[in-house]
Amino acid sequence: MKGHWHEQIQRYVAGDSTQEETDALQQALKDDAGLRALYLDYLNLDLALGEAAEAAVLRENGIGRTTKFPRPLALSSAYHWWWIGAAAACAVLVVFAMLPGGSGSTGAHPDIDATITSAQSAIARLSLEPPSPLPAWTSPTASLLEQPRISE
């Protein structure tokens, strides 16, 4: 009995049933709760297969795939050194500014003035030329120039 209804249900769901087959299935579904459960399970399967197919297409097209990008290790260490350098230069400036005579003394301590000038220019250089430890392709616009090559 069940084998027949498996086929009839699938024919109905596919839109292939004749009027007589539809009427027979309708009557059987009204009379038999177990057959109604089978019918509903088929419809649920039909829906779930549609979703599974859609998910498979998305996977194949690469959407939702997790891509591992190279970890920018250089970023943290380079920035550390940059900030350490800047902090040291600031510390030197503060120390010299607190020395007797202050930063306003020019002729009395030429070596100190030279150090201050050199520290100031070092800071200026650092702020003008921040390091760029990331590869160029990680820039948002770099993808227009060159795509990353991720080795398999």
């Binding site: 498996h6 459960a37 088929y42 399967l45 829906l47 197919a53």
Partner: protein
């Protein structure tokens, strides 16, 4: 009607997303084809949003949405499926009642499907997923495989039957655990 971008809208979206899958299964239980179900789902979503001001947050959103969907499906079937063989209203109501009661079972079966698909031979798995991919034409798929459309349908019937038995078995086994 509520305006966009307010908390009301966010609340609606959250509730709708939570129950969308169950609602889709429920709608599917009342109509014979996936295309009909998709259209009814769209109509239902619009009506749910339009009536969301009337929704009492103390009530079960799923029950309320099922009520709206049932009405939409019956209207759709009466208005637009005159030329096709469809079940009468009494049976559609009966199926809707059964589907609402089988909500949990259907969710469990959908979850079990992935396992069952993995148990199929790869060629069969690919075939059934291709057959269910939007835009696939059965006659073209059959020709690609060097089969007639009829023999392809028969193979698909057997695969679906095997999958259904597998998900039913899997869910029954998990219920015992």
């Amino acid at each position: 009607m509520p305006t966009l971008n307010d908390r009301h809208y966010d609340q609606f979206l959250r509730l709708f997303a939570d129950h969308e899958s169950a609602l889709r299964t429920f709608v599917r239980s009342m109509v014979p084809s996936l295309e009909d179900a998709s259209e009814i789902m769209q109509d239902t979503a619009v009506v749910l949003w339009q009536k969301f001001d009337e929704y009492d947050a103390a009530r079960d959103f799923r029950k309320w949405a099922f009520g709206v969907a049932r009405y939409q499906a019956l209207t759709y079937l009466r208005d637009r499926v005159r030329d096709r063989h469809v079940f009468d209203d009494a049976l559609v109501h009966s199926l809707a009642d059964d589907a609402a009661a089988a909500d949990q079972r259907h969710e469990a079966q959908r979850e079990a499907l992935d396992q069952c698909l993995q148990k199929l031979p790869e060629a069969q798995r690919e075939m059934v997923l291709t057959a269910y991919t939007k835009g696939t034409r059965m006659d073209e798929l059959a020709a690609e495989r060097g089969q007639t459309a009829m023999s392809l349908y028969k193979v698909l019937h057997r695969i679906r039957q095997a999958l259904l038995e597998c998900v039913r078995r899997t869910v029954a086994r998990e219920e015992y655990i």
